[in-house]
């Protein structure tokens, strides 16, 4: 029998995180039960483990029986379901899984997964299409057992056993937060746009990602050899040898380029006419401090605090939060760390299964709205932040402020938290800079009022653009209309910058917009004091800043603000700085 020669297949998607990787695909199925943890069972516990497996099989069988019983009488016999019930106890599945647990001393999930993937491989080699598809029956049955083994809640991509490229329909923040960086070479998803969470996470992890591929999970099978080019948004399945060779070269070229720009990243970002711009990092985990330091960050411009509220049945305790914050603050000291308070609906994050679903969560009970509704949860976080502030240079940033009363209420809560710490006799620091995240259009309109209450503004472009242009950046149908260079967006930023100058506030930008080379001349011209971005974008941003002068950037920005379209703005930047940027950027 001759092996069919695989046809190289190319998918085009959205480049969400730069870099190139070549490796085996790992498909995360929709229920997530495809990804399974492996651990060893000692001899004494082996019988217990086998019992656990048998119990899961029995439960799966009961589930099937229930479905069978509840079928309306008038329907024909359900042979498929009857076959599935028989398959549960099949020697090749049931018997061999028990044998594997015993002979290899591994957990039931792992043994089952091993047996099923062997079986799948056998079926997939079959010539007859109908029979080939019977693998689906086996998979269905084993999924039912697996669900009963691991329980619904624990889809676990934290314990993947080999270096792989993750292929998924979509990766939720909860999924990505569990990923062990050393195990993942890259991400591919069907859904998502340029600024979607998967992309942001991949950038944080410094691995390539291509999103918005639509059919990736259909076109790609686990263990397929694939190339992911996060620079161009290309995915190649079963590449020809020539293609592989070409991409190996490109990969080396890209890594060399990264090495060069990283080497000079510790130098300050000073324009040719002597203005210094702070280049800060956006982070989610203390672990990222290493890359912040490697890439020469001038501080943390945005420390996202949501992840400690995810993947758990309860809310984090003050001590736990304090420990994490303190770690980051101490590691960065004396450089500033901007801690953003909780920016999600915590009830949903914590009790991921329950809670009422909001039709429109982006416009729903989240961020400051949620925190003000839940004073206890808010206070726990505020106390942790104030306590961490005693150990270094902390700023606090309140997200989603849309009205004047919200910032007043947030500051009151901060004062209350300080007072309670005083009573408890715990060390803390109340004299920290207070910032307002400018990400709702109403906050731009009210910037002059809000300025009275704050020490700095931080413009969160991802949400501001989304709300101002009414574009869901995760929606593939409209993602192309998400334009940071839209004249409306520029005017919003201009207003915030003007008010800041007038009221003598610092003005920062912490959205992805700040990380794009073409935007930097405009941001410099508009008068941003700090740009904050994912750590690995910092060296390139610094490079771009060093090539610019403030006076040129200002006159360019004046012209850009007169343009009527995003395209027009882009063209004016391109004609002035295109050459410089393209020299500095990677191709």
């Amino acid at each position: 029998m001759s092996k069919p020669v695989a046809q190289e297949k190319i998918l085009k998607g959205i480049d969400a995180s730069p870099g190139i990787c070549i490796g085996k695909a790992y498909l995360v199925d929709k229920e997530g039960v495809d990804v399974v943890e492996k651990y060893f069972i000692n001899d004494k516990q082996l019988q217990g483990e086998i019992k656990r497996f048998k119990a899961a099989v029995k439960k799966a069988g009961d589930e099937f029986q229930t479905v069978l019983k509840n079928r309306p009488e008038e329907l024909q016999r359900d042979y498929i379901l009857e076959t599935h019930i028989a398959l549960l106890k099949d020697k090749m599945l049931y018997g061999r899984t028990v044998e594997t647990i015993q002979s290899e001393g591994v957990n039931a999930e792992w043994a089952l997964k091993k047996i099923v993937s062997d079986l799948k491989a056998t079926f997939e080699k079959m010539g007859d299409e109908y029979l080939r598809e019977r693998a689906a029956d086996v998979v269905h049955v084993s999924d039912a057992i697996m669900r009963n083994l691991v329980g619904i809640a624990s889809k676990n991509i934290a314990a993947i056993d080999k270096r792989v490229i993750l292929v998924a329909n979509d990766l939720s923040p909860a999924d990505t937060s569990q990923i062990n960086l050393e195990r993942i070479m890259g991400f591919i998803t069907n859904r998502g746009g340029k600024a979607s969470h998967t992309g942001i996470m991949a950038q944080a992890l410094e691995i390539p990602a291509v999103v918005g591929l639509e059919t990736a999970t259909i076109a790609i099978k686990s263990d397929d050899l694939i190339i992911v080019d996060g620079n161009t948004g290309t995915v190649i399945i079963d590449p020809y040898e020539q293609t592989l060779f070409e991409y190996e070269e490109r990969k080396i070229g890209y890594e060399d380029y990264r090495a060069v720009i990283t080497r000079e990243s510790h130098l300050r970002a000073e324009t040719t006419d002597g203005t210094q711009l702070e280049v800060m990092a956006n982070i989610e985990f203390p672990e990222e401090i290493v890359s912040v330091k490697n890439y020469g960050g001038d501080g943390i411009g945005l420390y996202r605090t949501e992840f400690q509220y995810m993947n758990r049945p309860d809310f984090p305790e003050e001590e736990e939060l304090f420990g994490k914050y303190r770690e980051v603050v101490e590691l960065m000291d004396p450089k500033p760390v901007t801690i953003r308070t909780l920016d999600i609906n915590g009830d949903k994050a914590v009790a991921s299964q329950s809670g009422l679903d909001e039709v429109n969560p982006a416009l729903g009970l989240r961020a400051i709205r949620y925190c003000l509704r839940k004073p206890d949860i808010f206070r726990t976080q505020l106390r942790a932040i104030l306590r961490a502030a005693a150990f270094g240079n902390v700023r606090i940033l309140f997200p989603m402020i849309a009205a004047y009363f919200e910032i007043c209420a947030a500051i009151n809560a901060l004062d209350d938290a300080a007072e309670s710490l005083e009573k408890d006799g715990l060390p803390y620091k109340r004299e920290i800079d207070i910032g307002i995240m400018i990400e709702v259009p109403s906050a731009v309109v009210l910037a002059d009022l809000l300025a009275e209450k704050a020490d700095f503004f931080s413009i969160g472009t991802n949400d501001l653009i989304q709300y101002a242009l009414a574009i869901d950046r995760g929606n593939r149908n409209v993602a192309h209309l998400y334009q940071p260079m839209d004249p409306a967006v520029l005017r919003l930023i201009q207003r915030v910058a003007d008010v800041s100058r007038e009221k003598e506030l610092e003005v920062y930008m912490c959205g992805e917009m700040a990380a794009t080379a073409h935007h930097i001349p405009l941001l410099l011209g508009l008068g941003m004091d700090e740009l904050s971005m994912n750590p690995q974008s910092m060296p390139r941003a610094k490079r771009v800043i060093r090539a610019l002068s403030v006076s040129d950037a200002r006159s360019l920005t004046r012209k850009a603000l007169k343009k009527k379209t995003a395209r027009g703005v882009f063209e004016i930047v391109q004609s002035a700085y295109g050459d410089i940027i393209s020299e500095l950027e990677y191709h």
């Binding site: 498929i80 009857e82 076959t83 398959l87 090749m92 079986l119 010539g127 007859d128 029979l131």
Partner: protein
């Protein structure tokens, strides 16, 4: 357990349109659950355990495939006949 060298074999051909698919394999495996000794289905040089749906499926027997049903103990003769009848009847499809 060794076979005693007195295997009984019946050769037949798959007649139903879909071949030995999940449901027909399940019917065979169902009968074999009550056997005294091993029962095998053989296609060319490949042998499958007839008590396992999955193993039977892996033989990939389409319509027209010649198979041998093998029992290791004469006590299972009734099972042999039952399987042969099932195959010959096209699994009642």
């Amino acid at each position: 357990m060794n076979s005693d060298g007195h295997n009984k074999i019946r050769v037949t051909t798959i007649k139903n349109e879909l071949g030995l698919h999940a449901r027909s394999a399940a019917q065979i495996a169902g009968i074999v659950q009550n056997s005294f000794a091993n029962v095998w289905i053989q296609k060319d040089n490949e042998k499958a355990d007839a008590s396992s749906i999955i193993d039977i499926l892996t033989l990939a027997c389409a319509k027209g495939t010649k198979i041998a049903i093998i029992i290791e103990d004469l006590a299972d003769l009734a099972i042999l006949n039952a399987i042969a009848d099932l195959v010959d009847s096209g699994f009642g499809e």
